[in-house]
C-alpha cells in the first residue's frame, strides 16, 4: 500500500492537512471551550453549517478528480451524492422505529401513509448500520460502474458525456419524485431521530458529524492525491490530453476512466451520507441538474486539477450562497450565473491558478533558476 502513503511526502498535501486539522480543531475548541456569550463562540448552528461545507468540499474533490485529471466533466455527481445521502437517509429512517407519527415499528411514516403493507425489498438491511454504510459507497459506485462501463466502452467523452450524465441525473430526479419508488417522493426522507444511538438534535452529535466530515475530507483528499501522484494519475492526465495516443501506448483508457469514475462516485456518495444527518433531510432536489453543475463551478472557481482548489472553491461559493440567500435571495442566481461566466472566461485556472502563479513568481525571483516555462 505504499502508493497510499505517497502524498504524505508532498508539501502541498502536508500543508493542506495541517490547515484542515487546525481549522477543525479551532472550531471544536471555540464551540466547546468558549462561553456562548463570547463573540468568538461558534454555535451549534454554525458547526452544522461548516460541516455541510466540508461535505461539499469532499464532493468537489471527487468532481475535480474526474474533471481535472481525467477531463471528464460529469454532471452526474449530484446524483451520486444524493444516492449516498439516500442510503444514509434510509438507515436514519429505520432508526426512527416506532417513534414516527403512525408508530409503525418497521414502516416509515410515508409508507404507512400510502397504505403499504410491508417494506419494499430494497429497504431491507438498512436497519443495520454496517449495511447502510456499505451501501453509501456501493449504491453510487454501482451506478457509476454500470453507467461508466457503457459510456467509456463506447468512447463517449467530452460534452456528450456531460450531456448524458445530466440526462441520467434528470431521469433519476424524475424517478425519485415518484411516490411509487418508495423513497418518500417529493418530501424525501426526513424527521430523523438518532444516528448510531446519538441524538441528532444534540450539539455534541453535530460536532461529531462535523469532525467526521473533516476526517472524510482528509481521507478523500489523500485518496485522490495518491491516485493522482501515481503512475495511474499520469495516465489519467495523458488520456485527458491525448486519448488516442494513450490507447496506442497500450493503456486501456476506458478502464482507467471507469476506475477513477467509480472511486469518485463513491467519494461523492460518502459526502452525501455525511451531509444528510447534518441537514436532517434528503429529497429529490439534490438530483436537480443545477446542483450537479454548481459543483463543477466550485471546482472551476477554485481551480481544476489541483484538488485543494476544489476545496477552496466549494467553501467560498457555499459561504457566499449562505450570505446571499440570507441578505438578498433574488440576487443569488445572478451571482451564481456571473460566477459561471467569470470562472470560465476570466479565471480559466481558478483561484488556485492565481495563487500558484503568484507563488511561482516569488520563487522565481528568489532563486536564480534558469528554466522558465513559457
Amino acid at each position: 500500500m505504499h502508493w497510499l502513503g505517497r502524498p504524505f511526502n508532498e508539501r502541498s498535501t502536508q500543508l493542506f492537512l495541517l490547515v484542515l486539522v487546525l481549522a477543525v480543531t479551532l472550531v471544536t475548541v471555540l464551540h466547546l471551550a468558549v462561553s456562548p456569550q463570547h463573540p468568538l463562540y461558534v454555535s451549534g448552528y454554525t458547526v452544522g453549517l461548516l460541516g455541510k461545507y466540508l461535505c461539499f468540499a469532499l464532493l468537489a474533490v471527487a468532481v475535480d478528480l474526474v474533471w481535472g485529471y481525467l477531463g471528464i466533466l460529469s454532471l452526474g455527481h449530484g446524483a451520486f451524492f444524493a444516492l449516498g445521502g439516500y442510503a444514509m437517509g434510509m438507515y436514519l429512517m429505520r432508526q426512527v422505529g416506532d417513534r414516527g407519527t403512525y408508530g409503525d415499528p418497521v414502516l416509515p411514516d410515508f409508507m404507512v401513509f400510502m397504505n403499504w403493507e410491508s417494506l419494499p425489498w430494497y429497504w431491507h438491511g438498512f436497519d443495520m448500520a454496517w449495511f447502510a454504510f456499505l451501501m453509501v459507497f456501493l449504491a453510487p459506485g454501482a451506478l457509476a460502474l454500470v453507467f461508466g462501463y457503457l459510456a467509456f466502452r463506447s468512447r463517449v467523452t467530452g460534452v456528450y458525456l456531460s450531456i448524458i450524465t445530466q440526462a441520467m441525473t434528470f431521469a433519476l430526479m424524475l424517478a425519485f419524485f415518484r411516490n411509487e419508488m418508495g423513497f418518500g417522493g417529493n418530501n424525501g426522507l426526513t424527521d430523523f431521530y438518532d444516528i448510531l444511538g446519538f441524538d441528532l438534535r444534540s450539539n455534541a452529535t453535530g460536532l461529531g458529524l462535523f469532525i467526521a466530515s473533516g476526517i472524510a475530507l482528509a481521507f478523500g483528499y489523500l485518496l485522490c492525491r495518491s491516485i493522482v501522484a501515481s503512475k495511474l494519475g499520469r495516465v489519467c492526465v495523458a488520456s485527458r490530453d491525448a486519448e488516442a495516443r494513450t490507447r496506442f501506448l497500450g493503456y486501456r483508457v476506458e478502464r482507467v476512466q471507469l476506475f477513477v469514475f467509480v472511486v469518485s462516485a463513491m467519494l461523492a456518495g460518502l459526502a452525501g451520507a455525511l451531509y444528510v444527518p447534518q441537514v436532517g433531510i434528503i429529497n429529490p432536489s439534490e438530483f436537480e441538474p443545477l446542483f450537479s453543475i454548481e459543483i463543477v463551478v466550485w471546482v472551476a472557481l477554485g481551480g481544476r486539477a489541483t484538488l485543494y482548489g476544489a476545496v477552496i472553491g466549494a467553501i467560498l461559493v457555499n459561504y457566499a450562497k449562505t450570505i446571499f440567500t440570507g441578505v438578498m435571495p433574488d440576487a443569488w442566481l445572478f451571482a451564481l450565473g456571473g460566477l459561471f461566466v467569470i470562472s470560465t472566461v476570466l479565471l480559466p485556472k481558478g483561484i488556485a491558478g492565481v495563487l500558484a502563479h503568484r507563488f511561482r513568481r516569488r520563487e522565481a525571483s528568489n532563486t536564480t533558476k534558469t528554466e522558465v516555462p513559457a
Binding site: 474533471w67 467523452t157 460534452v159 448524458i164 441520467m168 472551476a300 442566481l333 445572478f334 456571473g338
Partner: protein
C-alpha cells in the same frame, strides 16, 4: 355541448315526457303564428311563466309543455334561460327576468316578456326558477327538436346528434317526417342513427346494421344494452360492438400518433436551433432553453401591447420572437462564447451561467409567476374527424409551423450563400478564411440564426403551455437529447429524432404514466448513445467527439 346519457333508468317516464313535448313542438312549428297584440303577448307570457313558478316538478313539466304549445316566439329564449338557470323572478314585483351575466353581486338583466334592458339587479332580489334533471332532459330534447327545424346546418347536426338515444314512439314519427324533408346528408345520417337506436330498443335486428361502425357513444351504449340480452339481436349487437371496438382502437392509435407528432414537432422546434448552434457550429449553448423562453415572453409581450388583437399579436410575435432571441444570442456569442473557442466544456459551464442570469432576469423584471398567452380564435377549437376523434387546432398549427421552420432552415443551409459559408467554415475554418470568407461574421450569423429559431420555438410553445421563467429549463435536456439522438450536425436527423421521440413518449404514456414514460425515453436515449455514440444519422468525416 354533448348531452349526457344518464337518463337510461328513467326510460319510461322519459318516454311519456317526450311525447308531450314532441306533440307540442309539432303544433308550435307547423301552425302559422297568429298575430297578436303586444299587450296580449305580455299577458299570455306572464301567465305561461307564472305556471312555471310552482313547487311541483310535475306541474313545471306541464307548464313547459304549455309554453311549447303556446307557439310563442319567445318560447325558445325562455326554455334556454330556464335550462341555464337564468330565468328568474323578482322577489318584490314578481317580474320575470332573464339574467344575461351572473358574475358578481349585481347582475345585468332583461325583461323576460318585453325583452327590455332592465339594467342591473341585485342577486338578492331575484329568485331562480328551479328545475331538476328530468326537466333538464325534457328541455334539451325540446330545444333539440326546435333547432332541428329552425337551426342552420351545424345546429341541426348537433341537434340530431343530441337526439340519439332519446327517441320514443311518438318522437320517432316526427323524426321520420323530418327525415324526409332534411336535405343535409350528415343530419340525415344522424337522424337515421337516432331512429335506429329507437328501433333497436324495440328489438329490430336490422337496426344493428344501420348502427354498425358508428363511433357515437350513445349508439355504443344502446348496442351494449342490446348485446346484454339473448338471441339474434344480442348476437348482432355484440358483433357490431366488436367491430366498433376495433375502429375505436384504430382511432385511439391515430390520436396517440397525433399527440406524438404534436409533441414531436415541439421537440423538433426546440431542438432545431440547437442542431445549428451545437450540431453545425459545435457550440454548446446551455442557454438555448432560455432563448426559447425569451421567444415565448416576446409572444406574451406582443399580446400585452396589442390587447384585443390576439391574432395579429401572434403573427407579429413570430418576427419579434425571432429577433429578440437572435439578438440575445448574438450578445451571448460575442460576450462569452467567442472567448471560449475550442473549449467546449467551459462553454457549457459559462452558457449555463448565462441561462441562470436570464432566468433570474425574467423573474425580476416580469414576474416569477407563469403568464398565459391568449390563443386567437382561428387557432382555438378542434377539427372533428369523426365522433371519436377530433384534433385540436392549436397543435395542428404548431405542427405546420414546425414544418415551415424546418423547411426554411433546410433552404437556408443548402440554398443560400450563408449556408454555404457556414458549411465551409465548420469544415475547415482556416481554408474558408483564406478563401475570403469572414469566419467571425459567419459565426455571428449562424449563432443568430440558431438562437432566432429558438425564439420561434418559444412563440409556438406559448400557444401550448404557460409562459414562465422555467419554461426553457424543461426543454434544454430534451433538446440536447434530440440533437444527439438524431446525429449531431444533421438537420434531418433532428427532425426524425424529434418526431420519433415524441411518438415513443406518447405510446408509452398510457401504460407507464407521463413521468415514467419520460424516464424510459431518457434511459433509452442514454443507452442508445452508448451503442451508437454518433446518433441515428452520423455525419461522416466530422469528429463526433467534443
Amino acid at each position: 355541448m354533448r348531452i349526457p346519457c344518464t337518463f337510461l333508468g328513467h326510460a319510461r317516464w322519459h318516454a311519456a315526457m317526450t311525447r308531450i313535448v314532441s306533440l307540442g313542438l309539432l303544433c308550435l312549428l307547423i301552425a302559422i303564428p297568429v298575430a297578436a297584440t303586444a299587450q296580449d303577448d305580455v299577458d299570455n307570457g306572464q301567465a305561461l311563466l307564472e305556471a312555471l313558478d310552482v313547487r311541483s316538478f310535475q306541474d313545471k313539466a306541464e307548464a313547459i309543455n304549455a309554453i311549447i304549445e303556446s307557439e310563442d316566439e319567445r318560447a325558445n329564449d325562455w326554455l334556454q334561460a330556464l335550462l341555464d338557470g337564468d330565468l328568474q323572478r323578482h322577489k318584490d314585483d314578481g317580474r320575470f327576468v332573464i339574467v344575461t351575466d351572473n358574475v358578481g353581486r349585481e347582475w345585468p338583466v332583461i325583461d323576460a316578456l318585453s325583452g327590455d334592458d332592465l339594467g342591473e339587479m341585485s342577486r338578492r332580489d331575484l329568485a331562480r326558477i328551479n328545475i331538476n334533471n328530468a326537466l333538464r332532459r325534457q328541455l334539451r330534447s325540446a330545444l333539440s327538436m326546435v333547432e332541428l327545424y329552425t337551426g342552420d346546418r351545424d345546429e341541426r347536426r348537433e341537434a340530431a346528434k343530441g337526439l340519439i338515444g332519446k327517441v320514443d314512439d311518438e318522437l320517432s314519427d316526427s323524426l321520420a317526417s323530418r327525415l324526409e324533408n332534411e336535405s343535409d346528408e350528415d343530419v340525415r345520417h344522424r337522424l337515421n342513427q337516432a331512429l335506429a337506436v329507437y328501433r333497436l330498443e324495440q328489438g329490430d335486428i336490422d337496426a344493428v346494421e344501420t348502427l354498425a361502425g358508428s363511433l357515437n357513444s350513445d349508439v355504443r351504449v344502446a348496442l351494449t344494452r342490446a348485446a346484454d340480452g339473448e338471441g339474434a339481436v344480442a348476437d348482432a349487437a355484440q358483433a357490431a360492438l366488436a367491430d366498433i371496438e376495433q375502429t375505436l382502437k384504430l382511432n385511439r392509435g391515430a390520436e396517440t400518433l397525433y399527440f406524438g407528432l404534436s409533441m414531436g414537432s415541439v421537440l423538433v422546434l426546440a431542438a432545431i436551433g440547437l442542431a445549428i448552434t451545437f450540431g453545425v457550429m459545435g457550440v454548446i449553448n446551455m442557454a438555448h432553453g432560455e432563448l426559447i423562453m425569451l421567444g415565448a415572453y416576446s409572444s406574451w409581450m406582443m399580446q400585452q401591447l396589442l390587447p384585443g388583437y390576439p391574432g395579429i399579436a401572434v403573427l407579429l410575435s413570430i418576427p419579434v420572437g425571432f429577433l429578440v432571441s437572435a439578438l440575445v444570442g448574438v450578445v451571448i456569442e460575442r460576450s462569452v462564447i467567442q472567448h471560449l473557442k475550442g473549449r467546449p466544456l467551459e462553454t457549457l459551464l459559462a452558457t449555463f451561467g448565462v441561462s441562470l442570469i436570464l432566468q433570474q432576469l425574467v423573474r425580476t423584471v416580469v414576474s416569477p409567476l407563469n403568464r398565459s398567452v391568449t390563443t386567437p380564435e382561428w387557432m382555438s377549437g378542434s377539427v372533428a374527424i369523426n365522433d371519436a376523434l377530433s384534433l385540436t387546432l392549436n397543435r395542428l398549427y404548431v405542427m405546420g409551423f414546425a414544418v415551415l421552420v424546418f423547411a426554411a432552415l433546410i433552404l437556408v443551409m443548402h440554398r443560400t450563400r450563408l449556408g454555404l459559408e457556414v458549411r465551409a467554415v465548420t469544415q475547415n475554418r482556416a481554408m474558408a478564411r483564406s478563401m475570403g470568407i469572414r469566419a467571425t461574421r459567419v459565426d455571428i450569423m449562424t449563432f443568430a440564426l440558431g438562437s432566432g429559431v429558438a425564439g420561434l420555438a418559444g412563440v409556438a410553445l406559448a400557444q401550448l403551455t404557460n409562459v414562465g421563467p422555467n419554461l426553457g429549463q424543461s426543454y434544454i435536456i430534451d433538446s440536447f437529447m434530440v440533437v444527439v439522438f438524431g446525429g449531431v450536425g444533421n438537420l434531418w436527423g433532428t427532425l426524425v429524432a424529434g418526431l420519433s421521440l415524441g411518438i415513443i413518449n406518447q405510446v408509452l404514456e398510457p401504460w407507464a404514466g407521463a413521468v415514467l414514460a419520460k424516464i424510459m425515453v431518457l434511459v433509452f436515449i442514454i443507452l442508445f448513445i452508448q451503442k451508437r455514440p454518433r446518433g441515428l444519422f452520423p455525419q461522416k468525416g466530422r469528429a463526433a467527439e467534443g
